[in-house]
Symmetry: C2
Subunit: 158 residues, 2 copies
Amino acid sequence: MTIARTSIFCLALAGLATAAVAANHSDKAAMAAVEARKAQMKLIAYHTGILGAIAKGETEYDSETARNAAMNLHAAAGLARGTMWIEGTEQGAVGDSRAKAEIWSDPDGFAEKFTALETASGEMIDAAAADLDSLRAGMGSVGQACKSCHDTYRGPEN
Amino acid sequence: MTIARTSIFCLALAGLATAAVAANHSDKAAMAAVEARKAQMKLIAYHTGILGAIAKGETEYDSETARNAAMNLHAAAGLARGTMWIEGTEQGAVGDSRAKAEIWSDPDGFAEKFTALETASGEMIDAAAADLDSLRAGMGSVGQACKSCHDTYRGPEN
């Protein structure tokens, strides 16, 4: 009886330990996914910033730089989301994530927002390479795509 | 004479102020470029880590996840370098950069290293999608590309 009880206790303990290890493993993966998304957003913001500074006349227009910035913005926007936007990484669940739960409850809506940025940044590649006026004309839809997604799927500052 | 001296003093002061603003502006741009590169490296490391965990059997093989990871690795490796690897951002010159000055004194050598990662990660896309053995077979050249570039062009920890 004592042995049986001890065994049950040990099994329960082992179960808890396994759960803790699994949770820890999963937390690490969730944290890493959030960090990867932040890197994606950093690259999007950085290259949008380069284009924005050119559009505002703060930086001199240079066709090659502008085209490279648009290509990188497009590449960052077009990253496959499955590896980074994983379930259980919404705001409140892990680290300083600001991703709203709606990203996972409304995947089509979220995909639509990202597609808008992919389209706008794709069109920006030729526009940015062409001349300053074309670059300026393309900034609106890039900025709108950023804002529209943030308004809907980004939570408040932590 | 006093007016002339004051004017010269004022001109000198204005010159210093302009230089300071320019330096500040340029420092900010240099810091932002280093942060963007770190984001690029983060995305490369994150997706290599996903593939590595699958290769080691720590994560179950899944064709779609593996392919997405390889695609994102390839996209991050293939970003246009002109916007981020800008002159004056070598180790010691700005923030916690670990980029060796040789990146700019030997651009062809540096490009060759990055091209090796682009090639290895490009080949990994189909390999990762195919099956676990193919993924495992492709890990060597990905890891070798990372190591080879770091050995030559990354400075010691700060």
